[in-house]
Symmetry: C2
Subunit: 303 residues, 2 copies
């Protein structure tokens, strides 16, 4: 199970009724935050999921509307008593950006461990989630992320009984752990079926569509993607600035066969994001307009 | 005439219904901003006074809740087409703070001219306003500011006529300008009475009370001052952190014989700022609890 909260849906600058685009993904009491613009901590406050649980922060790129909220968030985490390190991931140069922004909070009570994403398809573990990053086309280096929660195969009680595996070890084996009992060892493979479909989220903003991005998003349960404008007439202007419009995001969602698409990162000039939603839904029916604090829970399919 | 807007009234971190403390003062179409925390640009948006008109920014100190909003504000000013320089004033070290924070917006379309406040009682001109800065006691170097709008003497038409000063020069002389007509020069002193009482605002946050601060605030029409807590029981804790409570601000307002006191910079832990207002009003009757976007217009007295 994954809880997802789109903290905001705006691009460029925070507006009174539109927080900047940022995604919070929670699993088993731990959270991953993607991007952190000015006021993201206000949206986090409203969301109500504890900032103390954010162990990993993923940054798409270094434009201000995606990183300026970091010092304020870190200070709030520190004031809330955090002492455990925070891992932060982004393009090479992230340390220099942090060194700049954190000039106002030189003495945080926890360490910030900075990781550079150095190659296309770079993979890493963020808690229980597997993260993959691919570079996308924007005005400055930018990456998109997919977050996957794998799911083990189904526990086969008939096989466990047939192999005389004591009942007290079943739960550990079900969790994928190997169990040792004196000389005897029991392995999950002895009792689990083939791995089952897990859960996957892909987050892509400030980018042009690309084959690599479609591959990253392939079969995602949720695709959170930029739609700077709904009006297709504005596509050339968006493309020139390294952004995409609703129709481009919807086309990718269809190509990647995702479960649902949430549009986000709206231009401040776009007053009503819903206006052009129907046209996007013609390309990919399960398209929704993202909004402040839009939340869902993704669950494993019951198989 | 001076328009004043208290953009927010919170301290430490922006809250969903409480912007961080920041003051906007407008005169003759030009504005001065004091402090700029995270989300200050959202409050500015709601206030509706153009960000393009902000020519001067005064910074009290370098804690994040007073400066983190600068990069976002500057980017928004740039996107709004500003090309004229912005002057920014603060303690020595301001340039280093700006160099850090502006790492996310290295190419602004206007220049930022940084001024260090190097001495107690430092005075400078910000548009038509005379600004004075004095150091105050906090955990890090901090200053408080007064902003004064002087008022020329009353124009004396009888004296102007008696001296045969041509009517076409009266308006210029009234504005305080010297006029040359061939060999003849006319001076404002020929037609203006003694300077009259102008307008004055003093802004003091993140500080302990002091004699210097009372002197700075002397006879202000409006004194905007920190009240981290209303509850006098919390005074020792506030003092330890270099802050003051309602009663201390009200006492200073009485000592400085100001027109009115607006309390601000509330602790996030203080849910209802009005709760302890009556006790402060016993010390200084014209005390008000500052709130988001609290606005007033100060006018010259009709003399």
């Amino acid at each position: 199970m994954l809880d997802v909260c789109l903290l905001g849906c705006g691009g460029m600058l925070p507006l009174p009724k539109r927080f900047l685009t940022s995604l919070l993904v929670r699993h088993a009491g731990k959270s991953i935050l993607i991007d952190c613009g000015e006021s993201t901590q206000v949206a986090l406050h409203l969301c109500g999921w504890s900032v103390k649980q954010i162990d990993h922060i993923l940054i798409t790129h270094f434009h201000g509307d995606h990183v300026v909220g970091l010092p304020g968030l870190f200070m709030t985490m520190g004031n809330n008593g955090r002492t455990e390190p925070v891992h932060i991931w982004g393009n090479p140069g992230l340390q220099r950006i942090l060194d700049g922004l954190l000039v106002v909070c030189p003495q945080l009570p926890f360490s910030i461990i900075c990781h550079d994403i150095t190659e296309c398809g770079y993979q890493f573990q963020a808690g229980a989630l597997q993260v993959q990053a691919v570079p996308v086309e924007h005005r400055i280096p930018c990456v998109s992320y997919s977050l996957s929660l794998p799911r083990a195969g189904k526990f086969d009680a008939v096989r466990a009984k047939a192999q005389n595996i004591p009942l007290q070890y079943w739960a550990a084996l079900q969790r994928g752990e190997t169990v040792t009992d004196g000389e005897q060892r029991y392995y999950p493979e002895q009792v689990l079926g083939d791995p089952r479909r897990g859960l996957k989220i892909t987050y892509a903003t400030d980018c042009r569509p690309s084959r690599e991005l479609v591959a990253l998003a392939q079969n995602s349960d949720l695709f959170v993607a930029e739609g700077l404008y709904g009006d297709i007439q504005k596509q050339p202007g968006a493309a020139e600035k390294g952004h995409m419009v609703y129709a481009e995001a919807a086309k990718m969602a269809a190509d990647a066969q995702v479960g649902q698409l949430w549009l986000t990162h709206y231009s401040p000039a776009m007053i009503d994001p819903e206006e052009h939603l129907p046209a996007a839904q013609e390309l990919f029916p399960n398209t929704k307009c993202g909004s402040n604090l839009m939340t869902c829970t993704l669950k494993f399919q019951d198989v």
